[in-house]
Symmetry: C2
């Protein structure tokens, strides 16, 4: 019920308001429209009859344009939230179908409604809005709550998958699709190699939003999760570079080897530049929270402001915003949490989760909405082969790369894990926004159709089947209970031990570097970034205190303290 | 240091980015500009050289327009926050000068910098942005945390001040200024009566933002606070009506008695309509939170969404948005809090505080920035008399109204309180935005100058002197300690007692109605709006539990539980 309400509410209200003012019914979606000049957040017609509206003030008057933008944005968010509630009213549904699929279906229904009401294809999600407003909250949430230990333990593998894997996919898909285009029978000869590669570069990237929303629900083991998720986050740098590279290649009259070299250079620039910007803002954020003791109320703000700034700055310089915001979040977290109050911490955590879940919801709904309509060119062979190649090259890539990974690691990636990694390569809104950013050329609509199909196929088919598959293969799951103090102490102990061994043996492995970093941190960074900086306690003591505090908060918020001796409150 | 940094950061960055792209330096403030077409959130130039920017992708390229809007908004918020921190670094300053004054000074300095850098007057705060984005968070915060008991105990007095007082002020100021205009020597004869009344209607209203920010810092007794603050909130309805009324009168060729009648009718419509819309959304919000048990993460969202929708809806129908959002917040609070989790509650509370404090800061900074520049017409007599009349008519109004109030109340408003009420009638950003919304006519700049002076005078002079005055008169302060359980039980007991007495004596006073409302609430509303609805507990038991929970949370968040037996966390 709530779901259905959530569906129709914004639509009908929007229609109503628009009809009342004799404006065309699509105004409610106007600014989601690519064809609207980017970022102009209010339909042109505002300027037109804005004056005439405020003329008859004495009668019962209505001025919709005045509030249109915030009103419609609020309604859309409301729809998203109500839809979410709608699903969770029936506990059965979300256990079978992942939420992302449900949301896409909602979007499809809405798109159909809009289509039927306006007799014109509903507008598509504006790429600017996606990249500037919807994506950052999700990535920030992901980065801020990224389990740093497994992430850094597997950083090598993740980077291999993210960088080599994505390039492999891009070229694999691009080239093999070019091969398909050569088949006279499919009459696709007019699609040049560069366009195929360009398309490959945008379809190759695994989408963090989709991966997150699916893997959140199937609780696979931590390592598997971080491998897929970390890849989906870090491959952004590669995607940005490849996409921009092929874009400029297409624009250039001729491609010199120098350009390709520049492209490779650009790749390092984009990745490392992103990390650098992220770290910079992260440090500044941590430093800022040193001074918020007297004014707790705006503490949470800085986490959001600085990380968003890092994202925007990176985007501004055509670096990888995702990498930047993740570096920022991961670097600031530790110091910020030490500086701010518990309540600010709760606010940050819950607001972040809320925000990301909302924009996640909006993204999938708009994916659905944007699917409907007649901006697709249908060509069976091309589309089918795109899906096949996406699956094939990813599977092959994972197999080959994991072979090398397992050569130089002790705890190897099992066959099951490899299958899930390959199968979990979902595509999502990023590809979608990128394909719409393509300049207008003859076959753009074909690419749009292919991308849409790939996204729907991966999110819906793979998304729905991955959970049963995980059960079937019984992939080792994530342990539900959080580690006890004694366990954590042991882990710490072994870290120190291994660091020592590595140091003696002269083999500078991760433990060695981790130890050095820890030393640098306690020697310099903490002195600068933390407010109450007393003598560095042993990490084990700190851990103990942390667990204690966590425990206390949990108790209180579970309301289990209500029956503690309450003498204090009686006076 | 941080303050100075905060000051220059956005400005210089903005300048830098703009210079880099050869765009004019004022781009950073472009969308705060009234002359920019309202709501067009991106400077026109984006479309112009947006393409040319993304041409050289292989080199190190920068695309500022792409991120301009969010980037600059973020920078402004950052400036506001850093300025706040800057003040609080030196604990002496805020104790002497209220924050609002400091912020206005910051704004003035910034305005000066921009003025000197661009050799053109800095842009003024866009009224749309103020009313749609900056004002609602503050009012929501105010309404959500409004102490309902003193508010409803004094509702009669508050309404009297808000409605009669504001009308009194508007006409008093308007008419006496018209009188001034008749003096040949001042050569102001060209200012007609209607324009004076119009000006009076916009300058008459006490500003909630200014009042809040000043009275938050001087802890006067609860009753005095609620009288001034309640008036400043509720007079919005009157202001809206009077302003629109005179606006339409000015536009009309001739004014018929019917129009005046319509105006009076409109007044009730605006006020009661606002309340109705607010209650409606409040109830829906409470009802929605019934179903969020399975998906806690988006609970806080609904409080913000529904209250904002109520505000926008009211604005859309030209009703009083402030009244609507307050009614919404006050009505939903009780049920929402019963439905949502403690963590969501903390998130709502702290995020609301954060948000309102930020937009409060922004408002005062922009007041300062907008003051600088050459959009003022200076006429000594008119401006001086405006200030004088504002003070005079308010003082007189308070005296007269309080006389009647004291006649029919037991606990009267003392002379001291009356003085503080009269003296606390600060003007603020609402007047400022309204005066800029005036249509272009010969003397608009004079009105702008007068309004600016009145605001600066009230906020700075009165704002800075009110605290010493309160000390001097030693006005009864707010009690710092929160009432104990026993006290609250007594209060409840007396409520019931008085309700009974009133019922028997047949005199239907506030206690009678409160009792009836309470009955209706427990009989019907709670059944519909609350999730876990068990047998209605005695209000005293509920109170006890509430205090207990509060106490537990406080303990946990003060970290006092760290040394409780921690066996559980050791497993």
């Amino acid at each position: 019920m709530a779901l259905r309400l959530g569906l129709l509410l914004p639509l009908l209200l929007g229609q109503l308001c628009s009809q009342l003012l004799g404006t065309s019914g699509d105004s409610i979606l106007h600014y989601w429209d690519l064809r609207a000049d980017n970022g102009s957040w209010r339909p042109k017609r505002t300027q037109d009859n804005g004056s005439e509206v405020s003329a008859h003030t004495l009668l019962f008057s209505l001025d919709y344009q005045h509030v249109q933008v915030p009103f419609e944005i609020t309604l859309w968010i409301m729809l998203a939230s109500l839809a979410k509630i709608g699903f969770h009213l029936y506990n059965k549904i979300p256990t079978v179908v992942p939420e992302s699929c449900l949301l896409i279906f909602v979007g499809l229904i809405m798109g159909g409604l809009i289509y039927s009401l306006n007799d014109k294809s509903p507008p598509v999600m504006n790429s600017d809005i996606f990249f500037l407003y919807l994506l950052p909250p999700i990535v920030l949430d992901a980065g801020y709550f990224m389990p740093s230990r497994p992430f850094f333990e597997n950083i090598g593998t993740i980077l291999l998958y993210a960088v080599v894997g994505t390039i492999w996919n891009a070229f694999g898909i691009g080239l093999s699709l070019y091969g398909i285009c050569q088949v006279k029978y499919f009459n696709l000869q007019d699609v040049p190699l560069l366009h195929n590669l360009w398309f490959g570069s945008l379809i190759a990237a695994v989408d963090p939003v989709a991966v997150l929303s699916v893997f959140e629900e199937i609780h696979v083991n931590e390592k598997l999760h971080i491998l897929v998720f970390g890849e989906s986050l870090l491959n952004d740098a590669v995607t940005v570079v490849l996409y921009k590279l092929f874009k400029s290649f297409c624009e250039m009259p001729s491609i010199k080897p120098l350009d390709i070299l520049a492209g490779i250079g650009k790749f390092f620039l984009v990745g490392i530049g992103g990390i650098f910007i992220g770290l910079l803002f992260g440090m500044v954020a941590a430093f800022t929270t040193r001074f918020t003791k007297t004014i707790r109320v705006i503490e949470p703000l800085f986490v959001f402001l600085y990380s968003y700034l890092s994202y925007l700055t990176a985007e501004m310089f055509h670096l990888s915003g995702i990498v930047a915001i993740i570096a920022c979040a991961m670097s600031m977290k530790r110091y910020v949490e030490a500086n701010i109050s518990q309540k600010s911490h709760t606010t940050i955590k819950y607001f972040m989760k809320m925000w990301s879940s909302v924009s996640d919801t909006l993204i999938f709904i708009f994916l659905g909405v944007s699917t409907i309509g007649n901006n697709h060119e249908w060509n069976w062979p091309y589309i089918c082969f795109t899906v096949i190649f996406c699956l094939f090259w990813r599977a092959l890539g994972v197999l080959v790369l994991t072979f090398f990974v397992n050569k130089c690691h002790v705890n190897t990636v099992t066959r099951k894990d490899q299958f899930i990694i390959a199968y979990g390569g979902l595509r999502g809104a990023i590809c979608f926004s990128l394909v719409f950013l393509l300049p207008e050329f003859s076959r753009k609509k074909l690419f749009i159709a292919a991308t849409t199909v790939v996204i729907l196929f991966t999110v819906i088919v793979q998304g729905m089947t991955i959970r049963p598959l995980v059960d079937l293969l019984d992939v080792t799951r994530r342990r539900e209970t959080s580690p006890t103090v004694s366990e954590q102490i042991l882990i710490r102990f072994f870290d120190h031990l291994l660091a020592g061994i590595e140091d003696i043996s002269g083999h500078w492995g991760q433990y060695y570097w981790k130890d050095k970093l820890e030393y640098f941190n306690s020697m310099y960074l903490q002195k600068i970034l933390l407010r109450e900086y007393d003598q560095p306690k042993s990490s084990i003591v700190l851990l103990y205190e942390k667990l204690e505090r966590k425990h206390a908060i949990e108790l209180a918020e579970a309301g289990q303290l209500i029956h503690t001796p309450s003498s204090t409150s009686l006076l």
